[in-house]
Amino acid sequence: MNWIHMALLGAVAAVGLAMYGFSSHPGDGADPALPLAEANYVLGDDIDDYNDFMMSGGPPPDGIPSIDDPVFIDAAEADLEPGDKVIGFYHGGEARAYPQLIMVHHEIVNDQVGGLNVAVTYCPLTATAQGFERGETTLGVSGQLLNSNLVLFDRDTRSYFSQINATGLRGEHRGETLSEVNLVWTTWERWRAAHPDTRVLSENTGHLRNYSRDPYGSYNPVGGYYGQDRTMFPLMHSSNRHHAKEMVVGARNSDTSVYFVRSDLAREQVQTAGGFLAVYEPNLDTGYIYFVGDDVPEVTPLGEGSYELGGEAFQAGDLPLEQLVPVEAFYFAWHAFYPDSAHP
């Protein structure tokens, strides 16, 4: 066997090794424990089309390792700048902050907060932080992308789920919607002010990474990929209506979807579109969305995130209306999944 034969043999073996991860799809199993939504979300496209469009982002399944045994520290110990982005979650009297600089390297934390088993998920390419009840299973990063967005899988049934539409793409849970919890995409300064006793995800993740660096760019200040009016991967639907990386607050139910541009909502405080009502919460710089149908109530801002409805004052997140789980996302990503979304 001469050199060239050996080189060709080696290359075939290397390509085989490289392709193994992409062809090895998770297998079958039973997972009655994974909590699902009572009603499935509306989808912008057929699930077969999603599967056809899904593509490898590079890593194999679990090549981006989720954090499965998270360690938390007190707020005073956290080495964070006031303007650093964090994902906040509050449940059952416990507050958690997941720094974006850690999440960008892992994308999923399988956690238990206030007695609830949740998966905190984050996709850096679409700026989406979404929480899902996970029951007794854990969620992992599949390495596949759909419209630049994270495709995750549950480790029991090995079903694949799209993050933004929270719906199964293949496997036992195809077409079924995960049970979502409300996460907040905000800054460390704002989250800490709202929840001084918050615990913070530690860099002691069980994995070795450079947690002082974001490979895509920066949020504090905004730079790199996060500020560019360009996207990296093909999209099923695209639009120039807004800057690609404009942050929108979207929501969907079983029939329809909506988005509000966050900066517009911050200016106007209350917006309505397509039977949805959105109110701005200034302390966390976020929005809450309610489904009101044709009977749009009169909601008046009182300042400091407080609103008057029917003669009573409520906080932005406590209006006595049908509240949906809001998703903050780059505009291009929301539009790619929900091109027919209502908007103001």
Partner: protein, 194 residues
């Protein structure tokens, strides 16, 4: 007729070409590890962390693997992934050898039975090997859009570049005359040597 290995040994007996291999291979290895982000900016205080050795075979990409040690210095973080380093060393050695014989072909075309421009073609696989490690980083920096076809190409760039590096090395070594190299005239460390 000497074998390619014998010819290579003859070339590497000359200190100048050994230096070309070591320097170009070393530079390539560092660039390779930077492109994989195993060497990156950022880091606050001195710290050395490890995880179990068994993690070294867990894949993070098509042909990239988990680090098992991390050295953090003020302003610099080095992740030590033995498999990445091994792959990088292999490609770096091939790149270094190709560049050394490219240099030989350019400076002393008679010894290689090539004209100069043909000899320089030997450096093309080395450039492709450069693309193999840097392409994803370049895409990210320039904000280019990546199709599924291009993602597929990225997955095989490293093995393809290794094959091309071996083939060009073999082809040029077969056309190199080590006896001419042995003469004082072809020890060529300066332009005057020709």
């Amino acid at each position: 007729m000497p074998t390619a290995v014998q010819t290579l040994a003859s070339i590497l007996r000359l200190p100048f070409y050994r230096r070309v291999v070591v320097v170009s291979g070393g530079v390539y290895l560092i660039l390779f590890l930077i492109a994989l982000q195993d060497i990156s900016r950022g880091g606050r205080a001195f710290q050395f962390l490890t995880v179990p050795f068994s993690r070294m075979f867990e894949r993070t990409g098509a042909l990239t693997f988990e680090p098992i040690a991390q050295l953090t210095l003020p302003g610099l973080t080095i992740l030590i992934s033995p498999v990445n380093v091994l792959i990088g060393l292999g490609i770096s050695l091939l790149v270094g050898l190709n560049l050394a014989i490219t240099w030989l072909a350019f400076r002393q075309p008679r010894a290689c039975r090539f004209n100069r421009s043909t000899g320089v073609l030997a450096s093309l696989p080395a450039l492709l090997a450069g693309g193999a490690c840097c392409a994803p980083a370049i895409v990210l920096i320039l904000g280019l859009q990546v199709s599924s076809l291009l993602m597929g190409v990225f997955q095989v760039l490293i093995p393809v570049s290794v094959v091309l590096l071996v083939i060009t090395l073999k082809l040029i070594l077969d056309r190199t005359n080590p006896e001419l190299l042995a003469s004082q005239e072809y020890r060529g460390t300066s332009p005057a040597a020709q």
